[in-house]
């Protein structure tokens, strides 16, 4: 496998990222993410706690959804390509929700550091199965040129 799946020449302003559709959120994934990340906030694990806190039921770690968004970029542009990734968590993700990550290219900047890497600026968002945005954000990825 090569470093990036695409070259800078393959990307144009307005190009749409292939959507990444993740499996429905299950409690076991939230438990697994807690262990992997070290975020053991009971609001993601314990329905009684979440209810007492006024949140109705457990909800997913925002960072899990951000991980999905990061995956959507690296699936398209290659592992190790992300230089910057910033998101706002717009809505809670609940058990059973299906998160779809989408994006489009805002700009392609030619290499200037002598490293030969172009910088691709992306607008990103993720939606639940009702089409509600659960994340909005931006990313910058570095891509080699074909030449």
């Amino acid at each position: 496998m090569k470093y990036a799946k695409l070259y800078a020449e393959d990307i144009q302003v307005g190009s749409e990222m292939p959507p990444l559709v993740k499996p429905p959120i299950q409690q076991i994934q939230l438990t697994r993410y807690a262990g992997a990340s070290g975020d053991f906030n009971p609001i993601h694990q314990d329905a009684a706690f979440a209810k007492a806190a006024g949140m109705g039921d457990v909800f997913a770690h925002g960072m899990l959804s951000m991980g999905f968004v990061a995956q959507s970029v690296t699936d398209w542009l290659g592992a190790g390509s992300v230089r910057k990734l910033g998101v706002r968590f717009a809505a809670l993700v609940r058990l059973g929700d299906v998160v779809t990550c989408k994006g489009r290219v805002l700009a392609v900047r030619p290499p200037k550091n002598g490293d030969g890497l172009s910088l691709v600026d992306l607008e990103l968002w993720a939606e639940n199965q009702k089409g509600e945005k659960i994340i909005t954000g931006k990313a910058t990825a570095a891509l080699p040129s074909r030449a």
Binding site: A36, P42, A70, A79, V82, R88
Partner: protein, 151 residues
């Protein structure tokens, strides 16, 4: 009645803490997200790749925790129960790949604390910035996270 939080920690810098990245933790983290890229999971494929080893996914630095600079301590200092917080925003900048076996130094500061009215009542926003450097003292990653407190 909205709660009062301790805003005196705005600007506070926590003691720097070291984190050694374990190979298995990178894989556990990638699998928890369901991101099965071989560059995170497959030692053989990654060895033949551009980095000569697996690397960590972009959001992995969120795992760089220390009991002297973590969310539990922050909440105690703010005087806030964990059930009141939400993750508002998060940003990562990456300058070098994060690799297994490497030890990184993390410097955390409270960049800002401010309050404003939200849809469902008054909110406080606590902005934490972490600088991650490697053994060459190069900046590897920057993290900036905003925690929302329902007051």
């Amino acid at each position: 009645m909205p709660i009062q939080i301790n805003t005196a920690i705005k600007g506070k810098e926590y003691p720097p803490y070291a984190v050694t990245v374990e190979r298995g933790k990178i894989k556990e983290f990638a699998r928890a997200i369901g991101d099965l890229s071989p560059f995170y999971l497959d030692d053989t494929v990654a060895k033949a790749g551009p980095w000569g080893d697996i690397i960590a996914p972009p959001t992995f630095p969120i795992t760089f925790r220390d009991e002297n600079a973590d969310t539990s301590l922050l909440l105690r200092e703010l005087g806030v129960d964990i059930g009141r917080i939400l993750h508002g925003e998060q940003e990562f900048e990456h300058f070098k790949p994060i690799r297994p076996g490497q030890t990184y130094l993390c410097r955390l500061r409270i960049a800002d604390i401010y309050e404003k009215a939200g849809k469902s009542g008054p909110m406080a926003f606590v902005v934490r910035e972490t600088t991650v450097t490697d053994s060459d003292n190069d900046i590897v990653a920057l993290m900036r996270g905003t925690t929302v407190v329902r007051l």
